[in-house]
Amino acid sequence: MDDISDDELYSMYADGDVEAFDTLFDRHRNSVFNFACTMLKDFTKAEDVMQETFLSVARAAKSYEPRGRFRTWMMKIVRNSCLNRIESERRRRAAIAESSLEFITPSSPEPPSLERIETDERVAVICRAISNLPERQREAIALYAFEQMQYKEIAQVLDMPINTVKTLIHRARASLACSLDPPRRALGENL
């Protein structure tokens, strides 16, 4: 089924072909997990998002309109799921801070960082720098670098104008370049 498009597979699934869904799962599971991982910086939560996303996709077959945008549509589901988690976490932390209970709340373990995927020093530096980017830059660069999406597709997933996407990506690349080039930045880089 390798040469069948995502939309065709999803339409076959909607008509009852469960194997077509298995192919979609195998084709996209790593992208979904990796994007969630980059957004949430937590492997366990990313695995939960992967499960949630594919269940949502499995349940939405009847309402999906095939327009060649399956991947961007699915990544949008991943993003929304991640944003909901990030927002709940923010609310939870705010509530804890408000009730001054933070000192008795067990601190969350440091999220397993992207170090797991380091293969050499440069990759390690870039991965650490990506995980330290502001949220919107991080999600844009993840789609740009890992998924090799075009600006237009990224704009669809992130629901923002193409020019905003370009700005986010260039800012992210500039920050990442600085992390690869720290001595010169210290000598007066104008950023």
Partner: protein, 155 residues
């Protein structure tokens, strides 16, 4: 042009996202400015590394769990809400003989002389049987059932 180009401007230039006249200005500047040539070199290294970053992959345990949940979801969602006895046998993965043994216990109803089962009721019924089985069955009980099944398989 003095060297006040930011990394961000160079990043836009390197990606081809500046207009033509601005691109000419930056090109001319870069010829003169060693610092900017160096930074363009770093951006080039970065861009090539970005295209080769290894993705994080889910653990085998997580994949197994998601596959199991999806499989249950797909099987359930593909089954009609109102089921015939054939649908029930397929859903429960049993043959006609086994269906015959349980048919009187099923949460079924009759319509136009035909037997039908509502999927949601069937799932509840299966869950009740699971619970009852877990309560009633001791380890030795499981062994007895296994022995019986194995004996049937070899006869």
């Amino acid at each position: 042009m003095s060297c006040n180009l930011t990394y961000e401007e160079l990043a836009e230039f390197a990606a081809g996202d500046v207009d033509e006249s601005r691109a000419h200005v930056i090109e001319r500047h870069v010829v003169e400015c060693e610092a900017c040539r160096h930074r363009l070199g770093v951006l080039s290294q970065l861009d090539s590394a970005l295209r080769q970053l290894p993705r994080s992959e889910p653990s085998a345990a997580a994949l197994l769990k998601v596959r199991r949940i999806l499989s249950a979801e797909l099987r359930t969602s593909r089954t009609p809400e109102i089921m015939t006895l054939d649908d029930v046998a397929r859903f429960l993965r049993i043959d006609d003989d086994a269906l015959g043994e349980i048919v009187e216990d099923l949460p079924a109803f009759e319509i136009g002389g035909e037997i039908r089962v509502r999927r949601t009721r069937l799932i509840e019924w299966v869950e009740q049987r699971e619970l009852a089985y877990m309560k009633a069955t001791t380890q030795s009980g499981v062994s007895r059932i296994l022995s019986r099944v194995l004996a049937q398989g070899t006869s």
